[in-house]
Amino acid sequence: MRTRRVTLPATAKAGEIIEIRAVILHPMVTGHSAAGANTVARRIIHTFTAVYDGEEVFRANLGTGVASNPLLVFTTVATKTGDLVFTWIDDSGETAVETRRLTVTPA
């Protein structure tokens, strides 16, 4: 299992904008190599998604220009109490999933 860390508040008021940080340990092998060198298969995280109470609120398509151990910082609006599911998918099909509960109190 890859080490990862998701940071977001445990509770928020309805309508409040919350910041979410997601970072994962991944080498992000670009597959680029100098002419004549041995080729290595590309292995990067190509997709990251955040699903909030069943609805996708953030998606990132990453390319080979992204450094290892990518950190993503984004925001969403707290609407109702529910689970946020974060998913990283890499070229080998490996998937890392992290779930966090957000409790929303009336504004």
């Binding site: 080490t3 990862r4 860390r5 940071t7 940080r21 970072v23 994962i24 340990l25 080498p27 450094a67 290892s68 151990n69 950190l71 910082v73």
Partner: protein, 258 residues
């Protein structure tokens, strides 16, 4: 007025020359000072700091028994990881049993071989870096406070001599960059006082966490000197001297470095 200004300038110059002759240095400057604002923020905030990935692994290893042992973990003897606050600020330190000078990494391995009956972790392995980072972060913000008397005395003198010895094909001593030219440039990077308080650090060039020892080897390759093996007495002595130079400054590990 102009004459008085000139006299003041001459006195200031004389004072600077006098201080240099005595070996006094201007205030120490951590490499953190020369980071971009974005990297400074990443370093300060452990939720964004990528070194935290290793801290998390180290925290898990702290309470995990290595395979083939009697179930003894780090926590079995030491208790909660938070109780190790201040430990990293005291290393390198002489081992009470053998009198040998140990870095924090070497101390972790000494514990593994003596008390857990395990093979030592390889230098720069993820597990060793993770445990070191998890310990170091407990002392974050605390002042470096090491002992240079007793068993550490000879090593301290050796470290000081090593710091001031020219080496490599470029024939440069550590002090020529890290004392005489702090704030100057080495290609695109700014020279710091060489404090080592941020290590193990997440270095962008490495795309990962690395020890102070690895960083010192990078300097040695830079001056085209022989890079000494991990754990060599010269390196441990140098780490002790660097920690003494940095005494009173805050531990920043896991720092972000370029």
């Amino acid at each position: 007025m102009r004459l008085r200004g000139l006299v003041a300038l001459l006195i200031a110059l004389a004072a600077t020359a006098f201080a240099t002759a005595l070996g006094a240095e201007p205030a120490l400057r951590s490499a953190t000072e020369f980071l971009s604002d974005a990297l400074k923020r990443e370093q300060a905030d452990l939720t964004a700091n990528r070194g935290s990935l290793w801290v998390d692994q180290g925290r898990a290893l702290w309470t995990a028994a290595p395979a083939g042992t009697d179930g003894r973990t780090c926590a079995s003897c030491h208790g909660d990881l938070a109780s190790m606050k201040g430990v990293a600020a005291r290393y390198p330190a002489a081992d009470a049993a053998s009198g040998q000078l140990l870095t924090l990494e070497m101390r972790i391995n000494a514990c593994r071989t003596r008390h857990q009956r395990q093979a030592a972790l390889a230098p720069e392995s993820d597990d060793l870096l993770a445990l070191t980072a998890a310990l170091a972060v407990q002392s974050r913000g605390m002042a470096v406070d090491i002992a240079i008397n007793g068993a550490a005395g000879p090593a301290f003198e050796a470290g000081r001599a090593w710091f001031n010895t020219r080496q490599g094909q470029l024939n440069l001593a550590c002090s020529q960059c890290h004392v005489d030219n702090v704030g100057g440039k080495l290609r695109g990077d700014t020279i710091s006082s060489g404090l080592g308080t941020g290590y193990p650090a997440y270095r962008l060039e490495w795309n990962g966490l690395g020890s102070l020892h690895r960083r010192l080897r990078a300097c040695q390759i830079g001056v085209r000197a022989v890079d000494l093996p991990f754990g060599s007495p010269e390196h441990v002595a140098l780490e002790l001297y660097l920690a003494w130079r940095a005494r009173g400054t805050a531990i920043e590990a896991p720092a972000i470095r370029r």
